[in-house]
């Protein structure tokens, strides 16, 4: 099966290798690919003179291959939407329309993605909400500012009584123009790295790792094994820490305060281990283009080992208590179900997908960096409910702890950072990592002088927000908080 230029995660290629198809061939290729099991990874425009180039990247997870294809449009053009055939393209097509004005005709849900917010000065049409008719229907609007200390977004529920029939999630409030800033300040390498660390403040290693991977590939200067192993350790610490925090919050959302207290104290230990490693509880300053900035001394290795062993042991006990409590299970089980078919058709990624039986994991499907040197087993659960999304975190905590231990036991010798050559000219690269939320993908395209011409970022939240919207249908509105927390999606990672 091939639908375009075949390449691998983190492998730079000449941009000219990507076939330039007619819009019809392009669309037919993506639909054919999806029917054969390819998964959409990226779908984004880039301005050309004249016109607009549309790129798509699809993944063949079984063979660890990526396919890139492209087509061209003029401003104001339109094409028959792909979404009715392959729903996983739904948000990608909306985003491309919003950014470049090329209309996907027949798209069933063509609404703004990051614009159209009432009261905010932005071009384009206002966001119109779906409206249910009926005397019994009432709407509940929440946000953009939420009750807790979290990021903003607007949720609108259409309910009859307690039951949610439809949830519409309007995002875009956090839009900071990240992709644009990568180009505006493309001459400041340090700025770009710090910006990558700030795409989503809870996925610092995931995004900075994807960015560094892209730059190293473009400069054809891979980092040394020791640096790659340290990145793996930092990535697994990030996953470990966030998963512990999520279990704490899930316990808190069902008023199980013992679980909340126990997991949040354990989380502190893991993020403080990250501080011991690199000076930041969230991994900032660790990743460098060409390697990492912080080495692991024998003393630090002992500190990390002890922290991981302690938190893993504590997490196992806390999970036994949490998942052994019938009052907790009564709230978790059969709440917010996403069936495997729905998950597949939406293109969910990460733990949310694995909790619905979808075996997707970039570390295993498209190995990169340090993950190319050892197997990562894909673990799935079948039930797709809040329990499943909570329990998979507990399982993944054990997996992360084991990976960290193994990497610490066999840390390769070598330099932690090496110089990276300037990016090659007219090149193209896709760099994917498995952040704790799932697949992070960065695409970089350089111009004739090797400078960035387009930088595209996809946070896993881009795939998964619609999963949350569908998960709460036919659930009581009081189950929304726990459903939401079981996904814990990023606002700023989506809004960029």
């Amino acid at each position: 099966m091939t639908i375009g230029f075949e390449f691998k995660n983190g492998q730079a290629a000449a941009e000219a290798d990507i076939p330039r198809l007619s819009p019809d061939e392009f669309r037919a290729g993506l639909i054919r690919g999806a029917a054969a099991g390819l998964r959409p990874v990226l779908f984004f425009g880039a301005p050309e003179t004249p016109g607009i180039r549309l790129y798509a990247v699809a993944a063949d997870d079984r063979n660890s291959n990526l396919f890139a294809l492209s087509t061209t449009f003029r401003e104001g053009d339109s094409y028959p939407a792909i979404t009715p055939e392959v729903p996983a393209f739904h948000l990608f097509e909306r985003e491309f329309y919003e950014d470049f004005g090329v209309k996907p005709e027949g798209h069933p849900w063509l609404k703004p993605v990051r614009r159209g917010i009432a009261g905010a000065a932005s071009a384009g049409p206002a966001y119109l909400f779906f409206r249910m008719d009926g005397d019994e229907v009432h709407e509940v609007g929440v946000g953009p500012i939420h009750a807790g200390v979290i990021e903003p977004g607007h949720f609108r529920f259409s309910c009859t009584g307690e039951e949610v029939h439809h949830l519409e999630i309007q995002l875009g409030f956090q839009h900071r123009g990240v992709e644009n800033l990568f180009l505006l300040r493309r001459d400041h390498a340090g700025f770009r790295l710090r910006l990558a660390e700030s795409i989503a403040g809870d996925s610092v290693i995931g995004h900075a790792g994807a960015y560094a991977g892209a730059m190293e590939a473009l400069g054809r200067s891979p980092a040394e094994r020791r640096a790659l192993a340290i990145r793996v350790i930092a990535q697994e610490l990030e996953r470990f820490g966030v998963h512990l925090g999520d279990l704490a919050a899930l316990a808190g959302d069902v008023a199980y305060l013992t679980g909340n207290a126990a997991f949040s104290a354990l989380r502190t230990k893991i993020i403080n281990a990250s501080l011991a490693l690199c000076g930041s509880r969230f991994g900032r300053g660790l990743v460098a283009v060409g390697g990492v900035r912080c080495d692991i001394s024998p003393e630090l290795r002992d500190v990390l080992r002890a922290a991981v062993a302690d938190a893993e042991d504590g997490a196992r006990l806390a999970a036994d208590v949490l998942f052994g409590s019938s009052s907790v299970l009564a709230r978790f089980e059969k709440a917010g179900i996403v069936y495997p078919e729905t998950a597949r058709s939406l293109g969910l990624v990460g733990p949310a997908a694995r909790a619905s039986g979808l075996a997707v994991d970039v570390r295993s499907d498209h190995p990169y960096g340090g993950y190319a040197y050892f197997p990562v087993h894909k673990m799935t659960l079948a039930s797709g409910d809040v329990f499943s999304r909570a329990y998979i975190r507990s399982v993944e905590i054990g997996q992360s702890a084991r990976i960290i231990r193994e990497q610490l036991d066999a840390l390769p010798e070598g330099a932690i950072v090496r110089p990276v050559a300037a990016p090659s000219a007219d090149a193209f690269v896709v760099s994917m990592t498995e952040g704790w939320r799932g697949e992070i993908a960065h695409a970089a395209i350089t111009d004739g002088e090797g400078r960035l011409r387009r930088y595209k970022i996809k946070d896993p939240s881009f795939h998964n927000w619609f999963g949350l919207a569908l998960a709460v249908r036919k659930n009581g509105i009081s189950d929304f908080p726990v459903c939401n927390k079981s996904f814990n999606l990023s606002y700023c990672g989506f809004d960029l």
Binding site: I117, A120, E151, Q174, H175, A265, D495
Partner: protein, 268 residues
């Protein structure tokens, strides 16, 4: 049941008893120590390395309000003229106090940058309820602000809490550079707070725009009508930085270590 008892026993008492006296361990990057005397002639390596323009020369100075504490200036300096200490007491009431140079030592800064006004102590000294608004924050500062009330830091021992409604709040805690799309909601929230009220800007983004200061998608006109009473630098701001700065501002940090008014819980 036995598992629950085991868990409770293992959990112990993770609270930091003297949270106002606690320090963040190295290699945390906190207060920067500048020694301009070490600067080689004409060297601007630190200025070029800084992603946010926080470092300036002539004289050498660093704006804590723009600093993302990445340490790139420290790595770039050939002479060790910039060193980040783990000092977490970074808060300041005046925006211009955040610009530090070689003459300012960490202890002097920590002891003087937060001014505690009498009326603030009188109004909010024993109870301060805060409404947090993230306006383009990346979830870094938001997670650290949430951590302020976890079992370790337990900020509510001081009567300081985050509340759900601006109507219940005495102050607004802002994170993020203020995205254009959040500007209207931020303004609404601010105007919904009853007078008298305070504004606390947390993190490089809120204080200066940080990495996003040049983005056309950021709108910082909010600050034209909303004066900031307390700035707390960081990227993200550490819970101890936040708690200490707010307590200094409320005049809560001066008492003896076991004084009930400081909220310190005696360790068993």
């Amino acid at each position: 049941m036995f598992e629950l008892i085991k868990l409770r026993k293992r959990h112990g008492r993770p609270v930091i008893p003297d949270v106002l006296g606690a320090a963040v361990p190295p290699p945390f990057r906190g207060f920067p120590l500048l020694t301009e005397a070490r600067c080689p002639d004409g060297c601007e390596a630190c200025v070029r390395a800084c992603p946010t323009g926080a470092v300036r020369k002539g004289p050498l100075r660093l704006d804590l309000g723009a600093c993302v504490f990445c340490g790139d200036c420290e790595s770039a300096c050939p002479a060790g003229a910039i060193r980040f200490s783990p000092g977490h007491r970074l808060g300041a009431t005046r925006r211009d106090s955040l610009v530090v140079d070689s003459s300012i030592r960490a202890s002097d800064y920590a002891g003087s940058a937060v001014e505690s006004r009498r009326e603030i102590r009188r109004l909010f000294g024993r109870s301060l309820k805060l409404r947090q608004v993230s306006a383009g924050g990346c979830n870094g500062c938001e997670m650290e602000l949430s951590a302020c009330n976890n079992v370790n830091f337990d900020m509510s021992r001081f009567g300081i809490d985050f509340v759900a409604s601006p109507r219940h709040a005495d102050g607004l805690v802002l994170t993020g550079p203020v995205s254009r799309n959040m500007a209207p909601a931020l303004r609404d929230a601010y105007h919904s707070l009853a007078e008298p009220k305070i504004v606390v800007a947390v993190g490089a983004c809120a204080i200066s725009g940080g990495l996003f200061a040049e983005s056309p998608d950021v709108d910082r006109s909010f600050f034209n009508d909303a004066p900031v009473d307390l700035h707390i630098p960081g990227c993200p701001t550490h819970p101890l930085s936040f708690i200490r700065a707010v307590c200094d501002f409320l005049g809560r940090a001066g008492g003896r270590a076991d004084d009930y008014r400081t909220g310190v819980i005696r360790s068993r």
